[in-house]
Symmetry: C2
Subunit: 333 residues, 2 copies
């Protein structure tokens, strides 16, 4: 079904053959995530080529025909007519695929299809969220930020997460004023921004909670929560990405902190932690049923601190917040 749609779109794009190299796209189409060199060649149907290291498990898990990897000269012969590659393919690799690279097109077929999730994908994302939510209950703030991150990641791993969906952020005190603060060997202090996610069967989750303990922190936290609620309320099929972003941004701006909300309100995720759509007022497009996106407004006051609250939302006739964790969590230092 999924693969038929991909073949149809390639047909619409007038693409005769496509070379696919991203392990996430290979997983998407075949169900198998390679551990070594592997690629798909799609002509009449997708065929998976794997390294000897992956042969046994590919034959067991892949839902499509599997063969041994071949030489570039042989790949070239199979790629006939209008040839496409992923926009993400390495330039050095493209050069091996054609004598005249200006003839090679890029197709967004995977980016497009992966924007909306299948039932099976949603189940994997829910499992990934469950692992992440349980782990935050085990976080240990008694030592350094790194120690806290390690305690959280430990719990995710023993419960089946392949690895963290991205570098776990534990940012305390002034360090929380950057959205991408590097988790440090400093002792944990409040407010503590924790941004984390698991990978279950290669599917991500993405959650942020900010642990607060002063009135000033609570004041900012309440504004961020109000902004997040406003954004989530707008999420429905047919609504523009910009409208969702503006819903959060307007709340924060009304309170006078607009300049401190320095990123967009959310993004899609699935096999990758950042997928289309981008929930930004600069992005064009409208929400579709079965998209899974984050809602994560934040306020970052330079030299003071930052607050972010992030939940995962499934777009639908009845839009559903997939995360079920309390917004405010108890903690001890």
């Amino acid at each position: 079904m999924k693969n038929e749609e991909i073949l149809n779109q390639l047909n619409d794009e007038n693409i005769d053959s496509m070379f696919v190299y991203s392990p996430e796209n290979i997983k998407y189409i075949s169900g198998f995530y390679p551990s070594s060199t592997a690629y798909l060649i799609i002509t009449d149907e997708p065929i998976l080529y794997v390294n000897s290291i992956d042969k046994e498990s590919a034959e067991e898990k892949a839902e499509i025909e599997t063969r041994d990897i071949i030489k570039f000269s042989e790949i070239k012969e199979l790629l006939t007519g209008n040839v496409a590659v992923e926009s993400s393919l390495e330039f050095g690799m493209v050069k091996h695929l054609a004598d005249d690279i200006s003839s090679i097109k890029t197709s967004n077929v995977f980016t497009d299809k992966r924007k909306t999730k299948t039932k099976e994908e949603i189940t994997n994302i829910k499992n990934s969220i469950g692992i992440a939510e349980n782990a935050i209950m085990e976080i240990d703030f008694s030592s350094t930020e790194k120690f806290a991150a390690a305690s959280l990641e430990f719990d995710m791993t023993i419960n089946g997460s392949i690895k963290p969906a991205f570098d776990t952020i534990v940012a305390g005190g002034k360090r929380s004023s950057s959205p991408h603060s590097e988790t440090s060997m400093n002792r944990v202090e409040t407010p503590i921004v924790v941004d984390w996610g698991a990978k279950y069967d290669h599917y991500c989750s993405d959650i942020t909670r900010t642990f607060i303990d002063t009135e000033r922190q609570e004041e900012i936290w309440n504004i961020v929560l109000e902004a997040q609620k406003a954004a989530i309320k707008t999420i429905a099929p047919g609504v523009s990405y910009a409208d969702v972003d503006n819903a959060a941004r307007d709340v924060i701006s009304e309170y006078g902190y607009g300049e401190y909300f320095i990123h967009s309100t959310g993004h899609g995720f699935g096999l990758d932690i950042h997928e289309d759509p981008i929930i930004s007022n600069k992005a064009k497009g409208i929400l579709e049923e079965s998209m899974v996106i984050t809602a994560e407004p934040g306020i970052y006051i330079p030299g003071e601190f930052g607050v972010r609250i992030e939940d995962d939302v499934l777009v639908g006739k009845n839009t559903k917040v997939l995360t079920s964790l309390d917004k405010k969590l108890d903690f001890t230092l």
Copy 2:
């Protein structure tokens, strides 16, 4: 000095300007590892362009001039004369950099320079190895493979590792017979192949130990150790990659297990876990002083089990094994 060498090589390659996008290459040349969109444009000298999220820390840490990121149209204007990009750059990105992409060259200047390590890089690698070596002492085999991996990674993280250098492998019993076995929720059984590494200041380490407890396992383990010793003994500046690989391969073949040594003997590493050179009998090239490579022969008997022993070696007049961990480690299940 390092940057001067890069400018010289670009000059030799007749490249007038280069666009650099890999965070590892940006770190290599500037000392700063970006957390968001960033790139270098090298003309007369390298200039770093960073996103607002990274601005503060880039200005603090980068050793070269730092500016705000600019539009593709402005980048295009700066890229004059013969333009090069990294071979790893995304094809979709290359298309933004020139109207006629066939004019864009690839330069291996970073791959070439990063093959040999500076003193500072070697210090970082040594620190990364230290973190990894300490952590194996804390591994807990009393439960699942995932639990064992989590216990090891926990210790690396609390001691300053940014993240595992790659997905930690804990593969027990029959699962050890694949070199890339996925760490599972199965209970640990022997032999246990553990392949792990830390990242310290973005520099990797890469070690493997196999925990054994039967005579049959010990028989295979002894052959692998003899092969590894033979390989390490040959490592010196001027020796071909093939000769190192063959030294290990010959030992394993003599014992009749040649067909079960299904990968190459080693690889370079540094900011990336896999860098040039590839220590394979199919690779061309000779070892140079200050390369850092792995020596990791293995025997993988299908349906039975696998054994691998891996250490990290600094090539020099006095070649030095940087790992100092015992080859055989005590353990309890």
